[in-house]
Symmetry: C7
Subunit: 93 residues, 7 copies
């Protein structure tokens, strides 16, 4: 199990065939900077400049994120992304 | 539905044929850094350096924005832009 | 009408034939980093690092600005520039 | 013995054959920016912008880290990594 | 007349034949980063990070400045430089 | 004698034949970003953002440092390194 | 006379034949980033982030400095360097 630290969030990227949410087909052909995935673990939050950063995303959220600031791993054959919450741009439902 | 986080705003770019607002024809041939779109969703705001950032744009606003800092998606065939409010430069009416 | 947000200012660049002000001929052959234009709209100001930024330029001011940080648009055939007030360097009269 | 200063942490990278944890096979073929290792020493923490940084990782933790900000040494034939705790992204167990 | 804003200063570069001050011949063959000019207008000062920046140079000062951060104009045939006071390095007399 | 200012530290790099400490052979073949040396002088410390930086390394410490931020000199045939304490990563003993 | 502003310091580089101090021969063959010179004028100090920067170097000090951040001039045939005190790394005596 991957437990994110600080304000980090673990994401599971959508498989190609899953890139439809609620009937919507998602793609990001237009740019490589951002993409979509599902939240599978959320860090405890952290202090930045003396201010506690609350975690607002939760497990199961489908999110658009900034791919430029994402760290990608493959763990037991599963692609995982670790990213700071600030680089999650929006929740899709 | 795309729900922006923090100070993010979701924009719908103008189709080519819509680039006239109130009789004005808009183009940005002169530079690729900035463009125009309509606000379709506004995030809740956030704290930056201990200071709450109020959201001043609202749904329906036609805005000029800094394309350099925009994230572009295609969701269900619709082009969408997610951007921080600070990268929205002006409202056009 | 273009209404600038925050500390943004809308400028109208001088047409070539207008580049004389009060008898002075203005050119910037020496560098591409800076140029001259007339203020046509001023934003409401904003807070930066907890400090309210007052707007000191006003409509009608002829200004020298840092072209590097300017966003250029063409609206209804009119070239417009949107820029942060901090990138306006001087007023010419 | 390598004693890290400030918020630094000393890591021992996994040997290729050890890249299975709790039955999970770890790889990072997808990107060079991040990787996995075991914590072998933890610095005392430090103050950043007047705020004490607590150390939350501990010896024995298996961690994912940002390879871009890691310093790699070979000491007595053993590869070691020194890194700031902020560049440790997650604990794997 | 060019009236600088904020902490800006307007400089008039030395003509080649004037590059002797008080008997001293000035040149900057060794580097392109810095140069010399005379102050002809001084801005009102400004607040940076909540702190009022006092203007310490005055009209008539001969100064060495950092050419990298200078904005150059030609107004009515006269070369002018607009620069932040912080990029003025020294006064020569 | 070289007396470091502020938070600077003077290091003497290990000669090739000295790169064994307490029986450990040190090398950094894997990267050019970091290396090892002995502390020979320590600055008085300084204030950064209003906060006094205490000096925690002392003469005689063998340290791993970030070569990227090191300044190298040759004084009287002796190679010396001047570096900020923050770029010293760990003490080896 | 060159009077440095703020936290600036004026240095006179050592002539090749003077690069011996107290019997020590100084060179910086190993890197171009840093060098050695004598302090000939010291600025009044300045406030940075609300904090007064005291000047700790004095006329006559032989110093090692960061050449990357130095501004070089030739005034009346004499090479001069203007530099912020923070880029002076150590005093040699």
């Amino acid at each position: 199990m991957v437990k994110p630290l600080f304000d980090k969030v673990v994401l599971k990227p959508f498989k190609e065939e899953e890139k439809t949410i609620g009937g919507l087909y998602i793609s990001s052909q237009k740019t490589d900077n951002s993409f979509m995935a599902e939240v599978i673990a959320v860090g405890p939050g952290c202090k930045i400049h003396g201010e506690q950063i609350p975690m607002v995303v939760k497990e199961g959220d489908k999110v658009l994120y900034n791919k430029m600031n994402a760290f990608e791993y493959k763990i037991d054959g599963q692609d995982l992304i670790v990213i700071s919450q600030k680089d999650i741009l929006a929740v899709v439902d």
